[in-house]
Amino acid sequence: MKNILLFLIFVIGLFTGCEHVVDIDLNVASPALVVEGRVIKDSLAFVKIHETSSYFQPDTQRCICNAQVLIREGDNTTDTLEQIAPGRYRSNSIRGTEGMTYYLTIVYEDESFEAQSYLPSKPLIYSLSQRSFASFGEFGDSADFDFGGGTSLDSLPWFLFTNIHDDPETEDYYMFEYYVNGEQKTGRYNVSNDENAQNDTLRYSPGPTALFYTGDTVTVRTYAIDEGLYTYFDMLSDALSSNSFFSSTPYNPVLKYQQRCARIFCRHELRL
């Protein structure tokens, strides 16, 4: 009997797939510029610039310190941003204003990069609600509790829903950030258009990205963004999930209204 058992273990070991770390000789590509621009209402415009880095050593990315960074607000003011730290530039005069379009120009090593983004109106959060993990089975919608509702299913995680106002007359785009006990939930970008809005309410859930348990503290940030930024983050989330079974093939997200920059966006922040 013992020999049979050893034989079975041997056979299972033979037939089971294995994994091991290998060295891959990736081609060395010329570094590309990565730009993160932020224009938030009532905050000074901010731009961070660095280069793409080695895939296997992402911490080695190089900051761009000698770029000329300009931001123009609509047809009005143009400001040259001041470098406040390596690769970090901040405007001294331009603050985010609702309804304005911002134009970014970066001049670096005799090349010029341009982008633009629109700052939409402030989003309004109606409420947050939660739904028990178990409710997706036998309980159905009846287990859609408000915060503080008692349940015997405390040991199970909860799904979070953010209910925000949406203007039915306009096409609107939103981005959500979730923090559970002060820690931001990452792994995907939570963006939504208003196609699934009903009347004047859009109900959005990050799904399993931001599960929480009874007693946790949840913080939600909602941003109104423009179409170009929505498209970019939507594609980026898809590209980042390229290791999953149902994902698309890997690709670089395409930017709308941008030229050769990695990312610039305006957003209007509301915290709850």
Binding site: L14, G17, C18, E19, H20, N27, T186, R263
Partner: protein
């Protein structure tokens, strides 16, 4: 890396090739003597005789030993697979 998240930047499509795939399969076929209307034989086989770890897929993940760094992981399905077959014909 943006906001602490690693975002791959692909330079070209189909720019890389998987490692070479090769293996040696061996088979020994032995015919037994015919008994009445029955004939029988044995087959002794070795699939992937030199137990090469051919790549089924390669994926990337964060290094367990060096957090923040990335590493490539090769998935191998079958090493050496012996088999024995007894055939009866009538």
């Amino acid at each position: 890396m943006i906001d602490g998240q690693i975002i791959p930047y692909y330079t070209e499509r189909n720019g890389y090739r998987m490692p070479d795939y090769h293996r040696l399969d061996l088979n020994l076929h032995l015919d037994n003597n015919k008994r009445g209307r029955f004939t029988s034989s044995w087959d002794f086989s070795l699939y992937n005789a030199y137990n090469r770890y051919n790549a089924y897929s390669i994926y990337f993940r964060e290094s367990e030993e060096d957090p923040g760094a990335r590493e490539a992981v090769q998935v191998t399905l079958f090493g050496i697979v012996p088999s024995v077959t007894y055939n009866i014909s009538f």
